[in-house]
């Protein structure tokens, strides 16, 4: 079976084409960028062949997807002979609110729900919907499956997902912790257990998805019991340009001092904060910051130490709630590839049973591996995440039902 996986953002579409029968082989992958903006383009890669890059006017998601379908049968790459070979489409969907706790086959009722949830994810859900509707027109009759970023976290108990604000705001406006990156947290937790030969239903796991966006999840017996992102993705850890946890009291103070309207404060906390802000504008890229810290730069050191401190806070908090800890998993672009960040986050945690093997960890990237010393009570692993693969697998699973 051939599955096309789509991840439609507000101005981009990432895609991968899987041949499920051939060991989940990736036949092609690519990205449409700058939809509706000057310089819109598409790039596609197929193993062993020259990438195709086309810069052309792409006004909307439908044009973007149309272009993807054309490139998939382009004779230079030709991962499939005809787009009719595509059996189904799997979509990454950002926000499923409280309505979706697992992946679903998309029908009118599902689309209506996603529309209802636009308020909760005003940037993402509309783009996701455009992708679904474009596909309906371009590949009519092909089944589509939705895989939600929030679904895995729907098992959180109320004490973990409620904020300390009047309960009526939860009832009326659905304000609560939702959490994101669910597909990744679920995948790496399962994958690590598979590698270790463990039964996930008996294990206490903390998964750290550290990328440009970052979150940590406590997984008890295979279920998410809490995660660090909240009502929005700007909660919890310090991220590339997002602040993560701040005292809500600073809003009023900042508005008064900087004489900025609320919308500018929001922009500032999402786009100018995080590692970029903490390092005094040095960089939002962890590789740059890690290099600078090693070279003795104080701004980089402050930013990275703050980052690691927050990670430790969450690991400790979740170990307490799990009342134990069998495994810590590092994943995401930073978790998989930046040894310095892993070292800062995971050293001096022997009290929690974590003993990092500093030498083994050093320089390790792009591989699944254990990085704790033999005496560590808690296992520590790097696992490469693969959200697209989960989406393809979920799509197949639902179609076979």
């Amino acid at each position: 079976m051939i599955i096309l996986v789509l991840n439609c953002g507000s101005s981009s579409i990432k895609y991968q084409l899987f041949n499920i029968d051939n060991n989940h082989q990736v036949l092609a992958k690519g990205q449409v960028d700058r939809i509706g903006i000057n310089g819109s383009n598409i790039e596609q890669k197929v193993n062993g062949k020259e990438p195709i890059f086309i810069e052309t006017k792409i006004d909307d998601h439908e044009q973007g997807i149309d272009l993807i379908l054309k490139l998939l049968v382009d004779e230079r790459h030709r991962p499939v002979l005809s787009i009719n070979e595509i059996d189904a489409v799997g979509h990454r969907l950002v926000h499923g609110g409280e309505d979706f706790s697992e992946s679903v086959i998309i029908n009118q009722a599902v689309k209506d729900k996603i529309k209802e949830l636009i308020d909760l994810a005003p940037l993402h859900n509309p783009a996701n919907l455009m992708g679904i509707e474009a596909m309906e027109r371009l590949l009519p009759g092909k089944p589509q499956v939705g895989v939600f970023d929030t679904a895995f976290h729907q098992t959180m108990p109320p004490k973990a997902f409620l904020y300390g604000i009047p309960y009526s705001f939860y009832k009326k406006h659905h304000i609560r912790r939702y959490g994101f990156h669910g597909t990744s947290h679920k995948f790496v937790a399962h994958k690590a257990c598979e590698i270790l030969g463990w039964d996930i239903t008996k294990k206490k796991i903390i998964t750290c998805h550290l990328g440009n966006g970052a979150s940590i999840t406590a997984v008890d017996g295979g279920k998410s019991i809490e995660t660090s992102m909240g009502f929005t993705p700007n909660y919890g850890l310090v991220m590339g340009t997002r602040s993560g946890v701040v005292d809500p009291g600073i809003i009023e103070y900042m508005m008064k001092k900087e004489k900025l309207p609320l919308s500018d404060i929001v922009g500032l906390l999402n786009k100018k904060s995080g590692m970029f802000g903490l390092s005094d504008g040095l960089s939002s890229d962890m590789r740059d910051l890690a290099d600078a810290m090693i070279a003795g730069n104080d701004d980089a050191a402050r930013a990275l130490n703050t980052y690691a401190h927050r990670v430790k806070h969450y690991i400790g908090a979740y170990a307490a709630e799990l009342n134990g800890l069998d495994l810590v998993v590092m994943t995401g672009g930073i978790g998989e590839n930046n040894w310095k960040v892993r070292e800062l986050c995971l050293s001096n945690l022997e009290f929690l049973g974590i003993t990092l093997d500093v030498e083994k960890n050093k320089g390790l990237y792009g591989t699944d591996a254990s990085i704790c010393s033999d005496c560590s009570r808690t296992q520590v692993m790097i696992v490469q995440t693969n959200e697209e693969l989960v989406i393809a697998s979920d799509t197949i699973k639902l179609l076979k039902r």
Binding site: G230, S243, D247, I250, D280, F351
Partner: protein
Amino acid sequence: MKILVLNCGSSSIKFQFFNMENQTVLAKGLVEKVGLNGSQLKLNKQNGEQVIFQGEIVDHKSGIEYVLGVLTSQKHGCIASLNDISAVGHRVVHGGELFSSSVLITQEVVNQMEKCIDLAPLHNPPNLKGIEAITELIPEVPQVGVFDTAFHQSMPDYAYMYGIPYALYKKYGIRRYGFHGTSHRYVSQRACEMLNIDFEKQKIITCHLGNGSSIAAIQNGKSVDTSMGFTPIEGLLMGTRAGDLDIGAVLYIMEKENIGVESASALFNKHSGLLGITNISSDLRDVLNAAQNGNQQAVLSLKMFNYRIRKYIGSYAAAMNGCDLLIFTGGIGENSKSTRAEVCKDLKWLGFEIDEEKNSSLNGTESVISLANSKVKVLIVPTDEELMIARDTQKITQEKR
């Protein structure tokens, strides 16, 4: 040596008068409704008698004048003349980054305290009024300022920085300050005295749980982290304060409810927390009663309350890579055995094991309540901020001589 301790609020003045030779309280009381109708002075005499004086008290100066008059009155007083007051200690809320310990008050100190007004616009002005009144009324008596924030000034930058542009910290001092410092310092030192162990060599977590609540991590005698932040709203779930909250949720509520930043601030400070979740009361005792009578919102709010405390305990144990002592204090921490029991339940993996029997029978008293073999010792230590202020005042004024 006799020391008067003052805690001046916006419309109240709390006072305690100590004989430092045996650290006993000779008199204590409260001036209420300063500058309002129905102002009065309540005096609790050493013999247990309470006397209420009614009369017009137009400002802090006349309130303090009243206090001094009562202390020296033939009928209700405890000293012959004002010359018997050796020094006055003031509780001051915010010392910003300028004060990391208690100080002898001079004109220069007053000038510096004025610079901190922006950070605590409700609290610092009445504190200053108290100082000014004493300066005018008994100018020759030395005064000492004891700051709520001072103890936490030892936090490392990675614990006090938020993930916001560094310029906002440099320009406006937006960072974590923390509060209740005098209480965290008192109970942690007192616990070490009780156990006859070296304060400078312990890893301690102190839970000050009252109407306002905060937790501190104290390593080698120094505060290294605390849950309140730039303002007292951050951290734990409190009587009427929200505690940790996604800023995205704050902005969403402001937009949906069409309220400004001041109303939002009032909402998260005065109508949230236990009160917001239960709609019953901000007082934990009322909430506990309601929960016993089967009120589901009350049950939920208690779970949230305890859960947040547990998470901070885990976070700080991780940040310090260990924990030797866990201390409960404040109205709730000292007197709610169910809070202590629920917080410590299922934390055995981290080394916390409470003795249920001791936890009940020793409620409200200075005591060790963990099992003999618990790796972490758990204690109840009733706080005494006034005594701490008196001790600091004595020490500093004696050093001056």
